[in-house]
């Protein structure tokens, strides 16, 4: 059974033209290469001080 109140929550306001800039910024999602880069940077920063968790060598 359709619950009007619940269904209405699915509908969100759409951006107006003057909010397009914000929509573009919101659209800047992270893809898989961004995630890999973040992970790589973390590993690199860890390796600078301590031993690398992957290789075990001192960076």
């Amino acid at each position: 059974m359709i619950n009007f109140e619940e269904e209405l929550k699915r509908f969100q306001p759409i951006p107006e033209v003057n909010q397009a800039e914000q929509a573009i910024y919101n659209n800047d999602l992270k893809d898989i290469s961004d995630i890999v880069q973040v992970v790589t940077a973390e590993i690199k920063s860890n390796a600078m001080g301590t031993s690398n968790p992957v290789t075990g060598r001192i960076g």
């Binding site: 059974m1 009007f4 929509a23 573009i24 800047d28 999602l29 790589t40």
Partner: protein, 381 residues
Amino acid sequence: MSSKKPVVCPVCGAQIRKSGYCSNCYMHISIIKKAYNTSDYYYNMGLDKAIARDLSGAIESLNMSLRYNKKNIMTRNLLGLIYYEMGEVVMALSHWVMSVNYKSSGNLATKYLKELRSNPTTLADVDQIAIKYNMALDYAKRDDIDLAIIQLKNLLSKNGHFVKGYLLLALLYIHFGNYEKARVTLRRVLKIDKANPLAIHYLHEMGDTDMNIIQMRMEEVEDDGLLEEEYIEENVIRRNNSLMDEDPSDKKSNPIKDFFEKCKNTLFKKKVAGDISFAKYSGVYVLVGMVLGVLMLGFIIVPAQRKSLRKENERIIKTYSEEIAAKESTITSLDAQVSDLNRQIARLESNNSDDVNPLPDYTYITNGMTDEDIQNMINNE
């Protein structure tokens, strides 16, 4: 001697080392290639769905494609085009702008943006549509359904491809219990986006089967009259009438409404969610109508007629009784007069019989006498 062109990292543009890792971002080229291949795979899937007019499915696939490669220009452009087709121009703009940002030359998005910018009226209309939709949504949330419907009709007459507007309109019609109009509205959605999950969900909830939905996609929507003024007026009038009929004091319980609901639930309880084809039950309606007619005749009309007849009889009897009483009183008074006169007659007769020395008869004396003789005689007496 041949100079080998260095391999460049597609992510950051730095040189790839012999080991296959990027010298800047330290990503392995095979991972990047794999990610980009997967992105293209989802793009192709999205394109197939878009060609089949499964726009919601295409958006899903293209978003997945962007998860693997956010710089996939083709994906961005197609996503923008799909949003534009579904009436969400601002979303389309944002994807095209991103696309142009990643690749400025030889990009189809440049053409799209140029076309949009060249016509300020279109952008103004887009803005108006967004404002009106948000306003309609606000009205709907505040339970001003009539105003919400009017706003949605208005914006849909300007942009007949605004899927979100149709979906909200359909939901409002369902809320009103106007399933036919909801179906007409959802049919328009299915014409634009064949497998819109929300539209199909609403149709299933209204009791439509998958076969009905397939049939619905084939039907023409141009002459369905959805955006005609009558629809708005009819709806508003119906709503207002229903509001006027409702007594605020009886808001909590309306026995007639409750009875109708009870009957509806009893008669049509096999249906899940209001898919009541009233035409199918015309025979039942006729039967119920006849029974109600007979009951009304027996319990209301006949007793009322009897009561009125009894009252009429009583009134006639009362009139005649009064007339009879008046005549009886007249007769009594006349009887009294008769008896009085009779008594007078009897008394006079008795007086006559009691008189033993009547007056002397002078006729024989007066015979042959003159008037002068009679006068003299009276004088002498």
